[in-house]
Amino acid sequence: MKTNRTVLLFEDDEDDRPRIIASLKKALPKDVEVIPFLGKGTTKKGTYEARILKDFKDEIDKAELIICDQDLSTIKDYTGLSAQVITAIAHAEGIPLALYGRGPEDYMMKRMKERRPFFERRFVLHLDSAGWDTEEFAKKARIILDGCQRIRQFLETNLGKDGQKVSDGTPAKWMSKLLDKPEIINRLELYGSGDQQYLSSLVASAKQGFATKAVRVLAAELSYWLWDSILRFPGITVNTVAAASALNLSPTAWNHAETQALFAPALYRGPFGVDKKFWWRNELQAIVERHGVTDGFEVLKLKKMKHAEASSCSVKPSMPAGYYCMLSEKPVALENSRGEIPYFPAGADLARISRKEFAKIAPWAGLKVT
Protein backbone atom coordinates (compact mmCIF):
# COMPACT_ATOMS: atom_id res chain seq x y z
CA MET A 1 0.00 0.00 0.00
CA LYS A 2 1.47 3.35 -0.98
CA THR A 3 2.12 5.68 1.95
CA ASN A 4 1.46 9.27 1.02
CA ARG A 5 3.31 12.13 2.54
CA THR A 6 0.88 14.35 4.37
CA VAL A 7 0.58 17.97 5.32
CA LEU A 8 -1.82 18.74 8.15
CA LEU A 9 -3.80 21.95 7.98
CA PHE A 10 -5.34 23.59 11.06
CA GLU A 11 -7.78 26.28 9.87
CA ASP A 12 -11.06 26.98 11.63
CA ASP A 13 -12.64 29.33 9.06
CA GLU A 14 -14.91 27.18 6.93
CA ASP A 15 -14.79 29.56 3.97
CA ASP A 16 -11.01 29.97 3.95
CA ARG A 17 -10.21 26.31 4.51
CA PRO A 18 -11.17 24.96 1.04
CA ARG A 19 -9.41 27.88 -0.68
CA ILE A 20 -6.20 27.18 1.22
CA ILE A 21 -6.45 23.44 0.50
CA ALA A 22 -6.99 24.06 -3.21
CA SER A 23 -3.90 26.31 -3.44
CA LEU A 24 -1.75 23.92 -1.45
CA LYS A 25 -2.78 20.96 -3.62
CA LYS A 26 -1.77 22.93 -6.69
CA ALA A 27 1.65 23.88 -5.31
CA LEU A 28 2.68 20.75 -3.42
CA PRO A 29 4.03 17.54 -5.01
CA LYS A 30 1.37 15.14 -6.29
CA ASP A 31 2.15 12.50 -3.68
CA VAL A 32 1.48 14.91 -0.82
CA GLU A 33 -1.98 14.75 0.71
CA VAL A 34 -3.33 17.85 2.46
CA ILE A 35 -5.40 16.73 5.44
CA PRO A 36 -7.51 19.37 7.19
CA PHE A 37 -8.09 18.93 10.89
CA LEU A 38 -11.88 18.97 11.36
CA GLY A 39 -12.10 18.16 15.05
CA LYS A 40 -14.40 15.29 16.06
CA GLY A 41 -12.41 12.23 17.23
CA THR A 42 -13.61 9.76 19.87
CA THR A 43 -11.67 10.90 22.90
CA LYS A 44 -13.60 13.51 24.83
CA LYS A 45 -11.58 13.80 28.02
CA GLY A 46 -8.14 15.18 28.66
CA THR A 47 -6.21 18.10 27.28
CA TYR A 48 -6.59 19.02 23.64
CA GLU A 49 -3.00 17.99 23.09
CA ALA A 50 -3.56 14.51 24.54
CA ARG A 51 -6.81 14.08 22.60
CA ILE A 52 -5.25 15.05 19.28
CA LEU A 53 -2.24 12.78 19.83
CA LYS A 54 -4.56 9.87 20.62
CA ASP A 55 -7.30 10.29 18.02
CA PHE A 56 -5.10 11.43 15.18
CA LYS A 57 -1.99 9.40 15.85
CA ASP A 58 -1.76 8.06 12.29
CA GLU A 59 -2.05 11.50 10.74
CA ILE A 60 0.52 12.92 13.17
CA ASP A 61 2.94 10.05 12.54
CA LYS A 62 2.82 10.54 8.79
CA ALA A 63 2.83 14.34 8.80
CA GLU A 64 5.74 16.00 7.06
CA LEU A 65 4.55 19.54 7.78
CA ILE A 66 1.85 21.24 9.87
CA ILE A 67 0.35 24.48 8.56
CA CYS A 68 -1.63 26.25 11.25
CA ASP A 69 -3.63 29.46 11.53
CA GLN A 70 -2.38 31.57 14.44
CA ASP A 71 -5.97 32.49 15.29
CA LEU A 72 -7.57 29.09 15.76
CA SER A 73 -10.55 29.01 18.06
CA THR A 74 -13.69 27.50 16.52
CA ILE A 75 -12.91 23.96 15.40
CA LYS A 76 -15.78 21.57 16.19
CA ASP A 77 -15.33 19.78 19.55
CA TYR A 78 -12.16 21.82 20.07
CA THR A 79 -13.51 25.22 20.93
CA GLY A 80 -10.66 27.42 22.08
CA LEU A 81 -7.97 25.23 20.47
CA SER A 82 -4.99 27.51 20.04
CA ALA A 83 -1.90 27.56 17.87
CA GLN A 84 0.11 27.10 21.09
CA VAL A 85 -1.29 23.57 21.50
CA ILE A 86 -0.44 22.69 17.91
CA THR A 87 3.03 24.20 18.39
CA ALA A 88 3.61 21.99 21.43
CA ILE A 89 2.57 18.90 19.46
CA ALA A 90 4.77 19.87 16.51
CA HIS A 91 7.82 20.38 18.70
CA ALA A 92 7.32 17.16 20.64
CA GLU A 93 6.75 15.07 17.53
CA GLY A 94 9.43 16.73 15.40
CA ILE A 95 7.03 17.91 12.71
CA PRO A 96 8.02 21.19 11.06
CA LEU A 97 5.42 23.84 11.79
CA ALA A 98 4.39 26.83 9.67
CA LEU A 99 2.08 29.35 11.30
CA TYR A 100 0.19 31.93 9.32
CA GLY A 101 -1.65 35.09 10.19
CA ARG A 102 -3.72 37.69 8.46
CA GLY A 103 -2.82 41.29 7.93
CA PRO A 104 0.04 42.98 6.10
CA GLU A 105 3.47 41.55 6.72
CA ASP A 106 5.67 43.51 9.06
CA TYR A 107 7.56 40.62 10.49
CA MET A 108 10.86 41.96 11.79
CA MET A 109 9.47 45.23 13.14
CA LYS A 110 6.61 43.41 14.86
CA ARG A 111 8.96 40.88 16.38
CA MET A 112 11.28 43.51 17.80
CA LYS A 113 8.40 45.56 19.19
CA GLU A 114 7.13 42.48 20.97
CA ARG A 115 10.69 41.70 22.14
CA ARG A 116 10.46 38.21 20.76
CA PRO A 117 13.73 36.30 20.41
CA PHE A 118 15.12 35.96 16.94
CA PHE A 119 14.73 32.22 16.93
CA GLU A 120 11.21 31.01 17.45
CA ARG A 121 11.16 27.43 16.21
CA ARG A 122 8.51 27.80 13.55
CA PHE A 123 8.09 29.07 10.02
CA VAL A 124 5.85 32.03 9.37
CA LEU A 125 3.66 32.27 6.31
CA HIS A 126 1.44 35.16 5.58
CA LEU A 127 -2.06 35.87 4.36
CA ASP A 128 -2.48 39.53 3.55
CA SER A 129 -6.10 40.22 4.32
CA ALA A 130 -6.14 43.12 1.85
CA GLY A 131 -5.20 41.02 -1.15
CA TRP A 132 -4.67 37.44 -0.18
CA ASP A 133 -2.41 35.76 -2.72
CA THR A 134 -3.04 32.09 -2.06
CA GLU A 135 -0.58 31.09 -4.75
CA GLU A 136 2.27 32.95 -3.05
CA PHE A 137 1.24 31.41 0.26
CA ALA A 138 1.19 27.90 -1.19
CA LYS A 139 4.45 28.42 -3.10
CA LYS A 140 6.19 29.36 0.14
CA ALA A 141 4.68 26.32 1.88
CA ARG A 142 6.17 24.19 -0.89
CA ILE A 143 9.63 25.71 -0.40
CA ILE A 144 9.39 25.01 3.32
CA LEU A 145 8.26 21.42 2.77
CA ASP A 146 11.01 20.70 0.23
CA GLY A 147 13.68 22.28 2.40
CA CYS A 148 12.60 20.37 5.51
CA GLN A 149 12.47 17.10 3.59
CA ARG A 150 15.95 17.65 2.26
CA ILE A 151 17.28 18.24 5.77
CA ARG A 152 15.47 15.21 7.17
CA GLN A 153 16.76 12.95 4.38
CA PHE A 154 20.31 14.17 4.98
CA LEU A 155 20.05 13.39 8.69
CA GLU A 156 18.44 9.98 8.10
CA THR A 157 21.29 9.11 5.77
CA ASN A 158 23.98 10.30 8.15
CA LEU A 159 22.50 9.54 11.54
CA GLY A 160 20.39 6.52 10.79
CA LYS A 161 16.61 6.57 11.10
CA ASP A 162 16.83 5.42 14.70
CA GLY A 163 19.02 8.37 15.61
CA GLN A 164 21.82 6.37 17.17
CA LYS A 165 24.42 8.86 16.06
CA VAL A 166 22.58 12.07 16.98
CA SER A 167 24.67 12.64 20.06
CA ASP A 168 27.91 12.19 18.12
CA GLY A 169 27.88 15.81 17.07
CA THR A 170 26.62 19.28 17.84
CA PRO A 171 23.92 21.13 15.91
CA ALA A 172 26.65 23.35 14.39
CA LYS A 173 28.55 20.27 13.26
CA TRP A 174 25.45 18.73 11.65
CA MET A 175 24.58 22.01 10.00
CA SER A 176 28.11 22.41 8.60
CA LYS A 177 27.86 18.87 7.17
CA LEU A 178 24.38 19.49 5.79
CA LEU A 179 25.59 22.63 4.03
CA ASP A 180 28.86 20.90 3.09
CA LYS A 181 30.84 23.77 4.64
CA PRO A 182 33.07 22.38 7.39
CA GLU A 183 35.06 25.62 7.44
CA ILE A 184 32.15 27.65 8.83
CA ILE A 185 31.53 25.54 11.91
CA ASN A 186 32.82 28.22 14.27
CA ARG A 187 30.63 30.86 12.65
CA LEU A 188 27.67 28.50 12.98
CA GLU A 189 28.45 28.13 16.66
CA LEU A 190 28.09 31.90 16.88
CA TYR A 191 24.66 31.70 15.31
CA GLY A 192 23.84 29.10 17.91
CA SER A 193 25.43 30.55 21.01
CA GLY A 194 22.47 32.60 22.18
CA ASP A 195 18.93 31.28 22.40
CA GLN A 196 19.87 28.14 20.56
CA GLN A 197 21.75 26.54 23.42
CA TYR A 198 18.75 24.30 23.78
CA LEU A 199 19.75 22.75 20.46
CA SER A 200 22.68 21.19 22.28
CA SER A 201 20.45 19.90 25.05
CA LEU A 202 18.31 18.36 22.34
CA VAL A 203 21.27 16.39 21.10
CA ALA A 204 22.25 15.34 24.62
CA SER A 205 18.74 14.09 25.40
CA ALA A 206 18.86 11.82 22.37
CA LYS A 207 20.78 9.45 24.61
CA GLN A 208 17.95 9.26 27.04
CA GLY A 209 15.16 7.49 25.31
CA PHE A 210 13.81 9.77 22.71
CA ALA A 211 16.21 8.36 20.14
CA THR A 212 13.39 7.08 17.96
CA LYS A 213 12.21 10.62 17.38
CA ALA A 214 15.67 12.18 17.61
CA VAL A 215 16.24 12.45 13.88
CA ARG A 216 12.82 13.87 13.20
CA VAL A 217 13.08 16.41 16.03
CA LEU A 218 16.63 17.42 15.10
CA ALA A 219 15.61 17.77 11.43
CA ALA A 220 12.77 20.12 12.34
CA GLU A 221 14.98 22.21 14.63
CA LEU A 222 17.81 22.48 12.09
CA SER A 223 15.20 23.56 9.52
CA TYR A 224 14.00 26.41 11.71
CA TRP A 225 17.54 27.40 12.56
CA LEU A 226 18.58 27.55 8.91
CA TRP A 227 15.47 29.42 7.74
CA ASP A 228 14.99 31.85 10.59
CA SER A 229 18.52 32.60 11.70
CA ILE A 230 21.30 31.54 9.34
CA LEU A 231 19.59 32.65 6.11
CA ARG A 232 17.71 35.57 7.60
CA PHE A 233 20.61 37.40 9.27
CA PRO A 234 23.49 38.14 6.87
CA GLY A 235 26.89 36.98 7.97
CA ILE A 236 27.35 33.45 6.67
CA THR A 237 25.02 33.88 3.70
CA VAL A 238 23.76 37.13 2.24
CA ASN A 239 20.54 37.98 0.43
CA THR A 240 20.62 40.06 -2.71
CA VAL A 241 20.55 43.46 -0.99
CA ALA A 242 23.14 42.45 1.60
CA ALA A 243 25.36 40.92 -1.10
CA ALA A 244 25.42 44.13 -3.11
CA SER A 245 26.06 46.21 0.01
CA ALA A 246 28.88 43.99 1.30
CA LEU A 247 30.55 44.07 -2.11
CA ASN A 248 30.13 47.87 -2.38
CA LEU A 249 27.94 47.63 -5.48
CA SER A 250 24.76 49.49 -6.30
CA PRO A 251 21.69 47.26 -6.75
CA THR A 252 21.77 47.98 -10.48
CA ALA A 253 25.42 46.99 -10.80
CA TRP A 254 24.88 43.88 -8.67
CA ASN A 255 21.81 42.71 -10.58
CA HIS A 256 23.47 43.12 -13.97
CA ALA A 257 23.79 39.80 -15.79
CA GLU A 258 27.56 40.10 -16.14
CA THR A 259 27.99 40.70 -12.40
CA GLN A 260 25.71 37.80 -11.57
CA ALA A 261 27.71 35.53 -13.87
CA LEU A 262 30.97 36.64 -12.27
CA PHE A 263 29.76 35.84 -8.77
CA ALA A 264 27.66 32.80 -9.70
CA PRO A 265 30.16 30.33 -8.13
CA ALA A 266 29.21 31.79 -4.74
CA LEU A 267 25.48 31.03 -5.11
CA TYR A 268 23.89 29.17 -2.22
CA ARG A 269 22.18 25.99 -3.39
CA GLY A 270 21.21 24.53 -0.05
CA PRO A 271 17.74 23.98 1.45
CA PHE A 272 15.26 26.89 1.09
CA GLY A 273 17.44 28.59 -1.53
CA VAL A 274 14.67 28.68 -4.11
CA ASP A 275 12.30 31.55 -3.48
CA LYS A 276 14.95 34.07 -2.55
CA LYS A 277 18.55 33.89 -3.73
CA PHE A 278 21.40 33.74 -1.27
CA TRP A 279 25.14 33.72 -1.70
CA TRP A 280 27.96 32.42 0.49
CA ARG A 281 29.55 35.55 1.91
CA ASN A 282 33.05 34.04 2.21
CA GLU A 283 32.96 32.89 -1.40
CA LEU A 284 31.91 36.30 -2.65
CA GLN A 285 34.86 37.72 -0.77
CA ALA A 286 37.19 35.07 -2.15
CA ILE A 287 36.22 36.02 -5.71
CA VAL A 288 37.08 39.64 -4.89
CA GLU A 289 40.41 38.68 -3.31
CA ARG A 290 41.38 36.54 -6.30
CA HIS A 291 41.26 39.73 -8.36
CA GLY A 292 43.69 41.37 -5.95
CA VAL A 293 41.31 44.20 -5.04
CA THR A 294 39.27 45.15 -2.01
CA ASP A 295 35.63 45.02 -3.11
CA GLY A 296 33.19 44.17 -5.89
CA PHE A 297 33.18 47.69 -7.29
CA GLU A 298 36.96 47.45 -7.80
CA VAL A 299 36.49 44.08 -9.52
CA LEU A 300 34.01 45.51 -12.02
CA LYS A 301 36.28 48.50 -12.70
CA LEU A 302 39.25 46.18 -13.16
CA LYS A 303 37.27 44.24 -15.72
CA LYS A 304 36.19 47.50 -17.37
CA MET A 305 32.49 46.71 -16.92
CA LYS A 306 30.57 49.84 -17.86
CA HIS A 307 27.79 49.16 -15.38
CA ALA A 308 30.22 49.39 -12.42
CA GLU A 309 28.65 51.58 -9.76
CA ALA A 310 29.47 51.80 -6.06
CA SER A 311 26.93 51.21 -3.30
CA SER A 312 25.30 54.00 -1.40
CA CYS A 313 23.98 54.12 2.12
CA SER A 314 20.19 54.39 2.33
CA VAL A 315 20.53 56.95 5.14
CA LYS A 316 23.23 59.13 3.58
CA PRO A 317 23.58 58.32 -0.12
CA SER A 318 26.94 60.09 -0.49
CA MET A 319 28.51 57.35 1.64
CA PRO A 320 29.20 53.77 0.58
CA ALA A 321 27.06 51.14 2.34
CA GLY A 322 28.65 47.82 3.38
CA TYR A 323 25.96 46.58 5.76
CA TYR A 324 22.28 45.63 5.81
CA CYS A 325 19.45 47.16 7.80
CA MET A 326 17.23 44.34 9.06
CA LEU A 327 14.18 46.60 9.39
CA SER A 328 14.24 48.68 6.21
CA GLU A 329 15.91 45.82 4.25
CA LYS A 330 18.19 48.38 2.61
CA PRO A 331 21.96 48.89 2.42
CA VAL A 332 23.42 51.02 5.17
CA ALA A 333 26.85 52.30 6.23
CA LEU A 334 28.46 51.32 9.52
CA GLU A 335 28.47 54.93 10.69
CA ASN A 336 24.75 55.38 10.03
CA SER A 337 23.59 52.24 11.74
CA ARG A 338 23.61 50.43 15.04
CA GLY A 339 24.98 46.96 15.62
CA GLU A 340 25.29 44.68 18.64
CA ILE A 341 21.53 44.25 18.70
CA PRO A 342 20.75 41.68 21.40
CA TYR A 343 18.08 40.02 19.28
CA PHE A 344 20.48 39.30 16.42
CA PRO A 345 22.85 36.31 16.27
CA ALA A 346 26.40 37.18 17.33
CA GLY A 347 27.72 35.79 14.04
CA ALA A 348 25.63 38.08 11.83
CA ASP A 349 28.16 40.88 11.55
CA LEU A 350 26.47 42.43 8.50
CA ALA A 351 23.07 42.69 10.21
CA ARG A 352 22.45 46.16 11.61
CA ILE A 353 19.63 48.66 12.05
CA SER A 354 19.85 52.12 10.47
CA ARG A 355 19.91 54.95 13.00
CA LYS A 356 16.56 56.19 11.72
CA GLU A 357 14.84 52.83 12.22
CA PHE A 358 16.66 52.30 15.51
CA ALA A 359 15.29 55.55 16.92
CA LYS A 360 11.76 54.33 16.12
CA ILE A 361 12.13 50.81 17.48
CA ALA A 362 14.47 51.25 20.46
CA PRO A 363 11.85 52.31 23.05
CA TRP A 364 9.62 49.37 22.07
CA ALA A 365 12.40 46.84 22.01
CA GLY A 366 14.00 47.95 25.28
CA LEU A 367 17.22 49.02 23.59
CA LYS A 368 19.46 51.82 24.80
CA VAL A 369 19.11 54.82 22.54
CA THR A 370 22.60 56.21 23.26
Binding site: N186, S193, G194, Q285, E340, A346, G347, A348, D349
Partner: protein, 232 residues
Protein backbone atom coordinates in the same frame (compact mmCIF):
# COMPACT_ATOMS: atom_id res chain seq x y z
CA UNK B 1 46.75 27.97 3.08
CA UNK B 2 43.61 29.95 3.75
CA UNK B 3 45.00 32.66 6.01
CA UNK B 4 41.77 34.63 6.16
CA UNK B 5 39.83 31.47 6.94
CA UNK B 6 42.18 30.52 9.76
CA UNK B 7 42.01 33.89 11.48
CA UNK B 8 38.28 34.24 10.84
CA UNK B 9 37.67 30.87 12.46
CA UNK B 10 39.73 31.91 15.44
CA UNK B 11 37.88 35.21 15.84
CA UNK B 12 34.52 33.43 15.51
CA UNK B 13 35.56 30.80 18.08
CA UNK B 14 36.64 33.57 20.44
CA UNK B 15 33.37 35.47 20.11
CA UNK B 16 31.44 32.22 20.62
CA UNK B 17 33.34 31.64 23.85
CA UNK B 18 32.66 35.22 24.91
CA UNK B 19 28.91 35.01 24.31
CA UNK B 20 28.69 31.67 26.08
CA UNK B 21 30.55 33.24 28.98
CA UNK B 22 27.92 35.95 29.32
CA UNK B 23 29.39 38.74 27.22
CA UNK B 24 27.51 40.53 24.50
CA UNK B 25 29.66 40.44 21.39
CA UNK B 26 29.35 40.32 17.63
CA UNK B 27 32.01 38.82 15.44
CA UNK B 28 33.90 40.89 12.88
CA UNK B 29 35.32 40.21 9.46
CA UNK B 30 39.08 39.61 9.27
CA UNK B 31 40.39 41.64 6.34
CA UNK B 32 43.69 40.91 4.58
CA UNK B 33 45.20 43.75 2.53
CA UNK B 34 48.20 43.08 0.28
CA UNK B 35 51.31 45.06 1.36
CA UNK B 36 55.06 44.82 0.92
CA UNK B 37 57.57 44.50 3.78
CA UNK B 38 61.32 43.99 3.44
CA UNK B 39 60.67 43.72 -0.29
CA UNK B 40 58.48 40.67 0.26
CA UNK B 41 54.75 40.28 -0.44
CA UNK B 42 52.80 40.19 2.81
CA UNK B 43 49.25 40.47 4.13
CA UNK B 44 48.23 43.22 6.49
CA UNK B 45 45.57 41.83 8.82
CA UNK B 46 42.92 44.13 10.27
CA UNK B 47 39.36 43.83 11.53
CA UNK B 48 36.75 45.40 9.28
CA UNK B 49 35.17 47.27 12.19
CA UNK B 50 38.54 47.99 13.83
CA UNK B 51 38.01 46.07 17.06
CA UNK B 52 36.24 43.23 18.79
CA UNK B 53 34.03 44.49 21.60
CA UNK B 54 32.97 42.36 24.56
CA UNK B 55 30.46 43.94 26.91
CA UNK B 56 28.88 42.72 30.08
CA UNK B 57 26.64 44.28 32.67
CA UNK B 58 27.83 45.20 36.14
CA UNK B 59 25.20 44.54 38.77
CA UNK B 60 25.15 43.32 42.39
CA UNK B 61 25.08 39.55 42.59
CA UNK B 62 26.22 39.25 38.98
CA UNK B 63 28.00 35.97 38.26
CA UNK B 64 31.13 37.78 37.19
CA UNK B 65 31.62 39.50 40.60
CA UNK B 66 32.42 42.72 38.78
CA UNK B 67 30.23 44.90 40.98
CA UNK B 68 32.40 44.07 43.98
CA UNK B 69 35.70 44.32 42.09
CA UNK B 70 34.90 47.60 40.40
CA UNK B 71 33.11 49.15 43.37
CA UNK B 72 29.84 50.20 41.80
CA UNK B 73 26.39 48.70 41.50
CA UNK B 74 25.16 49.50 38.06
CA UNK B 75 27.09 49.82 34.87
CA UNK B 76 28.98 48.09 32.16
CA UNK B 77 32.38 46.47 31.66
CA UNK B 78 33.89 46.40 28.20
CA UNK B 79 36.93 44.79 26.60
CA UNK B 80 38.19 46.10 23.26
CA UNK B 81 40.74 44.29 21.10
CA UNK B 82 42.19 45.80 17.93
CA UNK B 83 44.93 44.10 15.86
CA UNK B 84 47.19 45.02 13.00
CA UNK B 85 49.52 42.26 11.87
CA UNK B 86 51.83 41.75 8.93
CA UNK B 87 51.96 38.15 7.78
CA UNK B 88 54.40 36.87 5.20
CA UNK B 89 52.61 35.49 2.10
CA UNK B 90 53.31 31.93 1.24
CA UNK B 91 54.28 31.03 4.80
CA UNK B 92 51.15 31.82 6.74
CA UNK B 93 52.50 30.72 10.04
CA UNK B 94 54.95 33.58 10.13
CA UNK B 95 53.98 36.96 11.50
CA UNK B 96 56.56 39.64 10.74
CA UNK B 97 54.95 42.45 12.69
CA UNK B 98 52.17 42.69 15.16
CA UNK B 99 50.51 45.49 17.09
CA UNK B 100 47.49 44.62 19.21
CA UNK B 101 45.74 47.14 21.40
CA UNK B 102 43.71 45.96 24.36
CA UNK B 103 41.51 48.19 26.50
CA UNK B 104 39.41 47.51 29.57
CA UNK B 105 36.72 50.09 30.22
CA UNK B 106 34.28 50.38 33.09
CA UNK B 107 31.16 52.51 33.04
CA UNK B 108 29.58 53.44 36.35
CA UNK B 109 26.15 54.72 35.41
CA UNK B 110 26.21 57.21 38.28
CA UNK B 111 29.13 59.02 36.59
CA UNK B 112 29.14 61.01 33.40
CA UNK B 113 31.96 59.21 31.60
CA UNK B 114 33.38 55.67 31.48
CA UNK B 115 36.89 55.03 32.82
CA UNK B 116 39.80 53.39 31.06
CA UNK B 117 40.87 50.81 33.65
CA UNK B 118 43.76 49.45 31.65
CA UNK B 119 45.20 50.14 28.21
CA UNK B 120 47.80 47.77 26.79
CA UNK B 121 49.69 47.85 23.54
CA UNK B 122 51.43 44.58 22.61
CA UNK B 123 53.78 44.63 19.68
CA UNK B 124 56.80 43.19 17.99
CA UNK B 125 58.61 43.57 14.75
CA UNK B 126 61.10 41.19 13.18
CA UNK B 127 61.60 43.03 9.92
CA UNK B 128 64.99 42.36 8.44
CA UNK B 129 66.09 45.85 7.53
CA UNK B 130 67.44 48.25 10.09
CA UNK B 131 68.44 47.72 13.69
CA UNK B 132 65.89 46.88 16.32
CA UNK B 133 64.86 49.91 18.35
CA UNK B 134 67.17 50.47 21.31
CA UNK B 135 65.96 49.36 24.72
CA UNK B 136 62.92 47.66 23.18
CA UNK B 137 62.41 44.03 24.08
CA UNK B 138 61.60 42.13 20.89
CA UNK B 139 58.21 41.10 22.21
CA UNK B 140 56.64 43.40 24.76
CA UNK B 141 53.50 44.75 26.29
CA UNK B 142 53.29 48.45 27.09
CA UNK B 143 50.83 49.95 29.55
CA UNK B 144 49.47 53.12 27.99
CA UNK B 145 46.55 55.48 27.60
CA UNK B 146 47.66 56.28 24.04
CA UNK B 147 45.71 53.73 22.07
CA UNK B 148 45.91 54.72 18.45
CA UNK B 149 43.59 52.26 16.72
CA UNK B 150 41.10 52.30 19.57
CA UNK B 151 41.14 56.09 19.82
CA UNK B 152 37.74 56.65 18.21
CA UNK B 153 36.14 53.88 20.24
CA UNK B 154 37.33 55.29 23.55
CA UNK B 155 36.43 58.86 22.71
CA UNK B 156 34.86 60.47 25.79
CA UNK B 157 36.46 57.93 28.15
CA UNK B 158 38.26 59.21 31.23
CA UNK B 159 41.96 58.30 30.77
CA UNK B 160 43.29 59.67 34.06
CA UNK B 161 44.11 56.33 35.65
CA UNK B 162 46.48 55.39 32.82
CA UNK B 163 47.92 58.84 32.07
CA UNK B 164 50.06 59.01 35.18
CA UNK B 165 51.81 55.66 34.60
CA UNK B 166 55.54 55.77 33.86
CA UNK B 167 57.06 54.16 30.77
CA UNK B 168 56.68 50.42 31.21
CA UNK B 169 57.56 47.88 28.55
CA UNK B 170 57.23 44.35 29.82
CA UNK B 171 59.06 41.63 27.84
CA UNK B 172 56.57 38.95 26.91
CA UNK B 173 55.86 35.95 24.71
CA UNK B 174 54.91 37.05 21.21
CA UNK B 175 51.58 38.67 21.92
CA UNK B 176 50.01 38.62 18.49
CA UNK B 177 46.25 38.55 17.97
CA UNK B 178 45.81 34.84 18.85
CA UNK B 179 47.89 35.36 22.01
CA UNK B 180 45.86 38.37 23.12
CA UNK B 181 42.60 36.53 22.48
CA UNK B 182 43.92 33.69 24.64
CA UNK B 183 44.88 36.14 27.40
CA UNK B 184 41.33 37.51 27.50
CA UNK B 185 39.79 34.03 27.28
CA UNK B 186 41.93 32.75 30.16
CA UNK B 187 41.05 35.71 32.37
CA UNK B 188 37.41 36.28 31.52
CA UNK B 189 35.74 33.24 29.94
CA UNK B 190 34.00 30.53 31.88
CA UNK B 191 36.23 27.49 32.42
CA UNK B 192 34.76 25.31 29.68
CA UNK B 193 34.71 28.13 27.13
CA UNK B 194 38.36 28.97 27.91
CA UNK B 195 39.34 25.30 27.47
CA UNK B 196 37.41 25.09 24.20
CA UNK B 197 39.18 28.15 22.88
CA UNK B 198 42.62 26.95 24.04
CA UNK B 199 41.97 23.66 22.22
CA UNK B 200 41.00 25.53 19.05
CA UNK B 201 44.12 27.69 19.29
CA UNK B 202 46.48 24.82 19.89
CA UNK B 203 45.50 23.18 16.61
CA UNK B 204 47.78 25.73 15.00
CA UNK B 205 49.18 28.99 16.25
CA UNK B 206 51.16 31.34 14.07
CA UNK B 207 54.83 31.80 14.87
CA UNK B 208 56.65 35.07 14.38
CA UNK B 209 59.26 35.10 11.61
CA UNK B 210 62.62 34.85 13.30
CA UNK B 211 64.44 36.19 10.30
CA UNK B 212 66.42 38.87 12.11
CA UNK B 213 69.87 37.41 12.75
CA UNK B 214 70.19 39.22 16.08
CA UNK B 215 67.40 37.15 17.49
CA UNK B 216 67.51 33.87 15.60
CA UNK B 217 70.44 32.61 17.61
CA UNK B 218 68.78 33.55 20.87
CA UNK B 219 65.29 32.27 20.44
CA UNK B 220 63.73 28.95 19.59
CA UNK B 221 60.43 29.81 17.87
CA UNK B 222 58.65 26.68 19.10
CA UNK B 223 59.32 27.30 22.75
CA UNK B 224 58.08 30.87 22.59
CA UNK B 225 54.47 30.05 21.79
CA UNK B 226 52.43 31.58 24.58
CA UNK B 227 49.94 28.75 24.59
CA UNK B 228 52.74 26.54 25.90
CA UNK B 229 52.88 28.71 29.01
CA UNK B 230 49.40 27.82 30.28
CA UNK B 231 48.59 24.67 32.25
CA UNK B 232 46.08 22.05 30.98
Amino acid sequence: MDVQGYFQNLVDAFVTGATKSGFKAVTDRVVLNPVEKDGEPCWELLLKNTALKLTTDVAPGGGNNLSKKLGFDKGEFKILISPRETIKKGEPWNIKESAVELAYIARDLSKTAPDLLLGVHCDFSVVQTGDPRPAHPLFHAQLTSRLVKLNDLIDGTNLERMKSLPQFRLPTAHMSLPSVLLLVAADHFRQQQYLDFLKELRKTMPFPCMSNARFTTRADGRGMRSCAWYPS
